[in-house]
Amino acid sequence: MRRLAAISIVVTVALVMAGAWPAAAQDKPRSGGELVFVVPSEPPSYDAHQEETFGLIHPTAPHYSTLLRVDPTDRTGTKPVGDLAESWTISKDQLAYMFKIRKGVKFHDGSEMTSKDIKASYDKILHPPAGVKSLRREAYGAIASIDAPDPATFVVKLKYPESSMLLNLASPWNWIYKADILAKDPHYYETHVMGTGPFKFVEHVRGSHWVGKKNPDYWDKGRPYLDGYRAIFISSSAAQVAAVRGERAMIQFRSFSPPERDSLVQALGPKIAVQESPWDCANLVAMHHDKKPFDDKRVRRALTLALDRYEGSKALSRITLVKDVAGIQVPGTPYATPPAELEKLAGYGHDIAKNRAEAKRLLKEAGVPEGFAFTFKNRGIPHPYEHLGIWLIDQWRQIGLNVKMEMIEASAYHPMLKRGDFDVAMDFQCGFIVEPDLDLPRFLSHSEANYGKHKDTVIDDLFSRQGRATDPEERKKILRQLEKRLLDEEVHVFYTLQWHRIVPHLAKVKGWTITPSHYLNNQLDTVWLSE
């Protein structure tokens, strides 16, 4: 009976997913209606330049525009398109980017937006005034200067070519603020909303909801389609599912777990559509390079060889938010590791018996006795940390290791990693755009997020070279070398499984495309309701 139910869920999901795409492509957008969605977290402040949470992006991004944005129809979330920039040119030496800015774009107070506002916003990001935080300024180390020579031109000059620059300028965090306001009060945007986006701000009741209404003066005529939107803050996942199931909300843009998806599909049948994607988040295993026996790369290699990632993927993807077996980039994106290459890396081969025999041999060679015990420190969050942790312990047990898992309460987890107070620990990373320059700096010798404290100038050099390689094929080659060094030759860290994003939504919600990042595609200008 259970099996029958499971099969029916799988069939329904497949049918719904298969049916949703062509239908969405054929349907003509319809204006009107209010989109109601759930946000599992809440914004601490309203200033995206200084926040890190999707709890801000989801309810607030519809009020703002960015210079560039990631194409809202691109499922890889890696294709930059213009937002306030109408077009751009790049100099032959790739050191100067000149953006032509759209004319007639207005802030919600009716004033005209010009390149002066873009410059002021980027000045705030790159050189924040005293007392103002800018969390991602390090990502723009290549920028030598920015300029707004006339109201319709914005120029970025670089110190050296950087292949990721366009995507970096499409960051969903880089909202464009009004220059005059920033000049008067650089803290204004922490508590106020004033943008050029498709929706105007109506109200935010803390702990309850956020409301936006259509901006009739939006530069993209005919858009947005919705009359407005309402974001409801619900922290309990059971209440989130109930909200969608009871049709009090239409979508939750972050992700639901596989069992939650299945319960919604079972309850709502054709009224629900499901979009899924590999997620730009992954759990890694950090091994402290100053602690024995993890200072020995044979031991680190044994730990990754023990993992049967392919079988793990099958089992874990049914119960938690992981699925794909991947290397340093999200599968399906431009710099992802091809499966044939992936299989050559330690722990990615399909012959698990051979891998584990090799792991045991390496442990013996390194002098690690059978039954060697250590503690694996994990973050005290169920999905997917706890599930992955249990799986890891079982995998390591199969090469004769005796591992105890210690769950560290969420707020104490990061300080623990930073202090290096672990032998082996769960590490994680989540990106907002799949791009090596944004995802890989944590593996550099000097990075504060290099929790295992490895020192490897080869990796530092490869990272620098890939970032400056302007030919994509050359860049891929360097990335594969970096990956081999990081995950196979030195095994400084290793990846477990790629997170998997699952967004079930009422089938009447159209015009929204899932991407690998829950920080992307939240402006809602393309979204419409079929009923």
Partner: protein, 317 residues
């Protein structure tokens, strides 16, 4: 009487100070802080420099005793500061949620009292009959079922059977009473039922005790009507312990509906508590604990006043 009330009132102050001190110290024993949580985010790669600056900005870099003095100074002036997570004034954060929590507490109390007093009295009057057994079963079931569990069951029944869910956003009663009641009646029933179970059992045992008193026997011997004996002599005296239970439960409801508010997604004080703990928002958490402790202390004080009014023996002791 005045001396008695003044003594009771003055006793509130050291109690509140004790709560403030213990709260302040205990919160800081919990590992991690608001800045780590806010900036660890999903990437976990915000520089230590940013974290240190933010700690300094909100005063977490100062010695704990200095932080305490600064905070307690504010409390004395009824200034609880700003939330470390949102930066909003704490009184504003609490005010935003207090209306919902108070309304829910009042509604749950009404449900509880309407159930508990008639059932408790009936059960006592019909002791050891099937009515008594039924009431006792009903109240034991109420005690055994946590209100949040009952809430989950209510939601599931509404979803599965009626394909309907209460509104997710709070609408004040004076704005739209139907919408308001459609949201709050369910948690009020879930909480009120458990609350009534305690009060029913208390009413029953108090009534049984009072009904065996000499003055009730005397009243009956005088030929007084049963209705008058019950209302004028038995119930009034049996209400003293019931009043205590009802009042303390009411105080608990102001901030104690932590899980129930999560289940029904109610933006009340209980939910704010959860958020404050989850975010390690020290200033907000301290203020909330002071609010709940203050509610208990005030309710206790009012109980003492009520006792003195209801029972002359206390007044003249």
């Amino acid at each position: 009487v005045h001396k008695y009330l003044a003594k009771r009132f003055l006793l509130m102050l050291p109690t509140l100070f004790g709560v403030a001190l213990v709260t302040f110290v205990l919160i800081r024993v919990i590992p991690g802080d608001v800045v780590e949580l806010r900036y660890s985010g999903d990437r976990g790669s915000v520089s230590q420099e940013v974290i240190d600056k933010e700690r300094a900005r909100i005063g977490l870099d100062k010695p704990v005793w200095q932080q305490f003095l600064s905070w307690i100074g504010g409390v004395v002036r009824f200034d609880f500061g700003t939330s470390m997570w949102t930066g909003a004034p704490i009184l504003e954060e609490i005010k935003l949620r207090l209306a919902l929590s108070l309304q829910l507490a009042v509604m749950a109390t009404i449900v509880a009292v309407l159930l508990a007093i008639p059932l408790g009295v009936l059960s006592a009057l019909k002791q050891d009959t099937w009515i008594d057994y039924a009431v006792r079963l009903f109240s034991i079931a109420g005690l055994a079922m946590p209100s949040f569990w009952l809430g989950i069951v209510l939601i599931l029944v509404m979803l599965v059977v009626f394909r309907w869910l209460p509104p997710m956003v709070y609408t004040p009663f004076w704005v739209n009473p139907v919408q308001n009641l459609a949201q709050l009646i369910w948690p009020a029933l879930a909480v009120g039922y458990r609350y009534s179970a305690v009060a029913t059992r208390m009413t029953r045992s108090a009534m049984l005790e009072v009904l065996r008193e000499d003055y009730i026997r005397t009243a009956r011997a005088k030929g007084l009507m049963q209705k008058l004996i019950l209302s004028r002599h038995a119930l009034k005296n049996a209400m003293l312990p019931v009043l205590t239970v009802v009042a303390l439960e009411f105080a608990f409801l102001i901030g104690g509906l932590v899980v129930t508010e999560q289940v029904f997604n109610l933006n009340g004080i209980g939910m704010l508590f959860v958020q404050a703990v989850a975010h390690r928002d020290y200033t907000l958490l301290q203020a909330l604990i002071m609010l709940v402790a203050g509610s208990f202390i005030v309710v206790n004080f009012l109980m003492d006043v009520a006792y003195a009014w209801l029972d002359p023996r206390i007044r003249y002791r």
